[in-house]
């Protein structure tokens, strides 16, 4: 199976993607500690990428340096997934990749070849809200709403993975997601309510 046009071998791909990741995903505060570069980097050719987002198949050509987060927000226009730190520290960018929660800011877009991504926009069934979205509304589990998509995506896997049996286990699981408005208590209430309802989500 040809993974990517960037190199002929899987090993070559891993090496190259790892070095791109090292360069572009390292917190800028660390990168800037090094001296300025003297060589102008060569233009980066676009890579082919096929992936499914919210059930829709996309055949794309993307910059190999683009994170999944920036692909969603800047290229495709799925801005429901939020950018909060680009260092995997806040959880605002969490999406599901093949059902697993993933910090999309730490995932290079090209590493998602043939994978299936679900964002907040793909959670509701048309106009019918997902039970977790309904519970967030009812429990007032957000204020500014910016961390909310990430919280909801994490909340869904929290229940699916069986980590929502007690409020304490919900809190531990959800420590991945920062809410600066401080809606935590209402978020935990919403998740607990959905878990207790026994609804298959």
């Amino acid at each position: 199976m040809k993974r990517c046009a960037i190199s002929d071998t899987r090993r070559g791909f891993i090496i190259k993607s790892a070095s791109i990741a090292a360069l572009y995903l390292t917190p800028s505060i660390l990168v800037k500690a090094y001296a300025t570069e003297s060589v102008i980097p060569l233009p980066i050719p676009k890579e082919k990428l096929q992936l499914t987002i919210n059930g829709k198949l996309f055949n794309l050509e993307v910059d190999a340096r683009t994170s999944l987060l920036n692909l969603l927000r800047e290229e495709i226009g799925y801005t429901g997934t939020k950018k909060g730190c680009e260092m995997g520290q806040c959880g605002a960018c969490i999406v599901h990749v093949n059902g697993k929660r993933t910090n999309s800011c730490l995932s290079l877009a090209v590493t998602n070849e043939k994978l299936s991504v679900t964002t907040i926009e793909g959670l509701a069934n048309g106009e019918a809200l997902h039970p977790m979205q309904e519970a967030f509304l009812k429990n007032d589990s957000f204020q500014c709403g910016y961390c909310t998509p990430g919280q909801i995506m994490s909340a869904v896997t929290c229940v699916r993975e069986g980590k929502a049996k007690t409020k304490a286990s919900i809190k531990n699981y959800m420590d991945s997601n920062i809410c600066r408005c401080g809606a935590y208590q209402n978020i935990v209430d919403a998740i607990y309510e959905v878990a207790q309802s026994g609804k298959k989500i």
Binding site: I29, K82, T119, I120, K138, Y146, Q185
Partner: protein
């Protein structure tokens, strides 16, 4: 069920009117607008804190793939508001306040934006950052607050206040003196500050910008670029938190405007998380000293409160750090002294509960210390020194229901279980402590304009140029209008977040609900009067009646004393041959002096916590947050705001601290990993209770704000509970195991 409970139940069943947009990801924040041909701007930051840039080589960056321009002091176009020449300044221009981005080669703080790279993609822009080479002449920066504050020659803007005798506390039967230290805290809203700027021709500018006041940003940009206000449109549909960081216009906004004009394309700038620590302000570092004394019965004899907080070297930023000691308690002898300490840092800005949050930490800690020395219950001590009037202005408080808050909070937290002697109460090997503290903040009512359009289908549209950073303003305003018009919530649409709407205030200082709410009430009343006038003029059944004979509710105009005589709004507008009623009103503010009352919101926080005596680990077990903020418009959103304030206060007490390398001036923890904000598992269950009595002196609305008081006092309640648990007093935030005597 009493009236309060009925009201609470009904609003708890309502949902935020903008809720569905936010939980489905459809709500658009400032960086999320996509414009054709948009370019991306990223800042190059200074690697020194103080000095000048000798030279900057941008040639390699310019040659890098996709780079359109690199803008810096050598090639930045002239900006009218950047000129310091006051005599030749056009009338519609004001000088930009603070750091003029991309303007000169002076470096004022570490991480200052010194160049803007503009490229076709974000990736190409980021890749060019390291190609810009700057050479500096470096000067050793002054960063170390704790050391420099001791040098009086470094202080500026000293402000003194005195009533009665100075330092009178020293003559009291019982007194304490203590110093309190609060490090720099950073707002860190989850949404990164961002701007998209686009020009139409030379003189029409539209910006999508994160701020707490689109009107304020519009005026700032118009006056900076010398444009008529109507030619500048600022769109701020949704704000992902701000807590004060959006109260002024920062470098990203003019930089995007400058770049968009220079390259003749829309430009988007989104700050990085580390840049959120240096480019958008912070709560200043503060040092305070409180001396407080009472007679043996606990009556306060004197308070002396001294404070210093830092500002930048290029701008003054003052806080009301010590003011709370002048007016919260009855005391004849009070003196305060406040000074600024300029450092080689960027300028601070108000952060949730500005001044009072830091000031109450000192005063409420000091009162707690005094209570132990007096052997008087801390709540009793506060009640003994309760004041009906504001002792500073001598005006009566419009309402001060602190005693109700004390009573409820004591009961709910289980205050009777508290040990009077610290360190005695234990549970499963953990030390248990109870603490409380008061919070207070001004509750003003300012000027706001609202446009109201009542359509012939009975729907009401309200418009004003404010923004909603999360408290639920849109929801509250919808509720105020629906109640006044006696129509369902669904029939009201409240529009905000666009400077082209009638001017409204910036969202800050807990003033939005009272200010904009009063304007909404006035708009509704005006619409109702118009309807009554139309009914008298056009509907035969109301001929010869006067407006006082009529009332408007549920989309009907009817007689006050006979509800059988009525006409629907739809019918009335039809016979009057109007498609709608469209009015704009301005509601004026009133000062305390005009009101002849001092208007404040109050809070009391009660905390129960447990400390592991083996390692100093602290578990906050319960918080009871009570507030006196007049009439509560929406219990659900006000409750959420109170809970959120507790979370902010937990951060202030337990972990938040921007740490500096005092040699270079660099923040060494500028990330959400290094700068720890509270997480899910660190938050105690919080009960919220409101006095919920309308403050009639605040006008018909009777409501005051809760945004600040929700946080003010929380940190002191926690350190007071910690003392009760362990006998160890922490006066320097945040609390760490080391400060409790444990090794790291």
């Amino acid at each position: 069920m009493n009236q309060d409970e009925l009201f609470y139940k009904s609003t708890m069943e309502e949902e935020r009117v903008d809720g569905i947009e936010k939980i489905t990801g459809r709500a658009k924040y400032s960086a999320e607008h996509s414009l054709p041909n948009m370019a991306y701007g990223v800042f190059v930051e200074s690697r020194i804190a103080k000095g000048t840039i000798k030279s900057m080589d941008i040639t390699k960056a310019l040659a890098s793939d996709g780079v359109i321009d690199v803008i810096y002091y050598e090639n930045c176009p002239a900006i009218p508001g950047y000129s310091t020449d006051a005599t030749n300044r056009p009338k519609n221009v004001s000088e930009w306040r603070g750091h003029k981005v991309l303007h000169d080669n002076v470096v004022r703080f570490f991480g200052q934006p010194i160049a803007l790279i503009v490229a076709d993609t974000l990736e190409n822009a980021n890749a060019a950052i390291r190609l810009v080479k700057a050479e500096y002449d470096t000067v050793i920066p002054e960063i170390d607050f704790d050391k420099l504050r001791l040098d009086e020659s470094k202080l500026k803007g000293t402000n003194n206040y005195k009533r009665g005798e100075e330092k009178k506390y020293k003559q009291a039967a019982v007194f304490i003196e203590a110093e309190y230290n609060i490090p720099i805290e950073v707002h860190n809203p989850m949404e990164l500050h961002a701007t998209i700027a686009v020009w139409e021709g030379d003189d029409k500018l539209t910006v999508y910008d994160k701020n707490q006041g689109p009107r304020n940003t519009q005026v700032t940009l118009a006056r900076t670029f010398g444009l008529p206000e109507k030619n500048v449109r600022v769109i701020t549909e949704n704000v992902g938190g701000a807590f004060g960081s959006g109260l002024r216009t920062w470098a990203n906004t003019p930089a995007a405007c400058i770049a968009a004009k220079k390259i003749q394309r829309p430009v988007k700038i989104v700050l990085t998380r580390p840049q959120m620590f240096t480019m958008i302000g912070y709560r200043p570092h503060s040092w305070q000293k409180v001396g407080i004394g009472a007679d043996n019965s606990g009556i306060l004899q004197g308070i002396s409160h001294e404070g210093i907080s830092n500002t930048s070297k290029y701008e003054d930023f003052r806080e009301g750090l010590v003011n709370v000691s002048r007016y919260l308690y009855a005391c004849a002898n009070v003196d305060t002294k406040y000074s600024m300490l300029p450092l080689d840092l960027s300028t601070p800005i108000w952060m949730r509960g500005p001044g009072e949050a830091s000031g109450c930490f000192a005063l409420e800690s000091a009162l707690d210390e005094l209570s132990y020395k007096l052997k008087i219950d801390p709540v009793e001590l506060r009640i003994k020194n309760f004041s009906d009037i504001n002792p500073e202005s001598k005006l009566p408080f419009s309402a001060n229901n602190l005693k109700d808050c004390y009573a409820y909070g004591k009961e709910k937290i289980g205050w009777s279980k508290r040990s009077k002697t610290p360190g005695l109460l234990k549970e499963n090997g953990w030390q248990i402590g109870y603490g409380m503290a008061v919070g207070v903040f001004g509750a003003g009512k300012g000027v706001a304009s609202v446009r109201a359009i009542l359509n012939n289908n009975g729907t009401l549209v309200l418009e004003t140029a404010i923004s909603d950073m999360g408290p639920g303003t849109t929801t509250s305003m919808t509720r105020i209008a629906a109640e006044k018009m006696q129509i369902p919530l669904e029939k009201v649409k409240f529009k905000l977040g666009d400077s082209s709407l009638p001017p409204g205030p910036s969202q800050g200082g807990s003033g939005t609900t009272s200010t904009v709410g009063s304007a909404v009430l006035l708009a509704c009343e005006t619409v109702q009067n118009k309807l009554k006038e139309l009914a008298i003029k056009f509907a035969p059944e109301f001929a010869n009646k006067t407006v006082t004979d009529l009332l408007v509710e549920n989309s009907l105009v009817q007689l006050v004393n006979n509800d059988q005589v009525k006409i629907s709004i739809t019918e009335l507008l039809k016979i009057a041959e109007k498609s709608n009623i469209d009015i704009t009103v301005t509601s004026t503010g009133k000062t305390a002096q005009e009101l002849k009352f001092a208007t404040n919101s109050f809070s009391v926080h009660f905390v129960r916590l447990a400390v592991n005596p083996k390692n100093g680990a602290i578990k906050i077990q319960q918080v009871v947050a009570t507030a006196d903020a007049g009439k509560i418009i929406n219990y659900k959103t006000a409750r959420s705001q109170m809970i959120g304030g507790v979370v902010g206060g937990v951060g202030m007490a337990m972990s938040e601290e921007a740490k500096f390398d005092t040699v270079t001036g660099q923040i060494i923890n500028a990330s959400l990993h290094g700068y720890h904000v509270p997480l899910h598992s660190e938050i105690p269950p919080t009960d919220v209770w409101f006095v919920n009595k309308p403050d009639n002196n605040m006008g018909e609305l009777g409501a005051k704000g809760v945004g600040e008081i929700s946080l003010i006092g929380v940190a002191a309640a926690i350190t007071n509970a910690l003392y009760n648990a362990t006998g160890k007093r922490v006066r320097s935030l945040p609390i760490t195991p080391q400060k409790l005597g444990f090794k790291a």
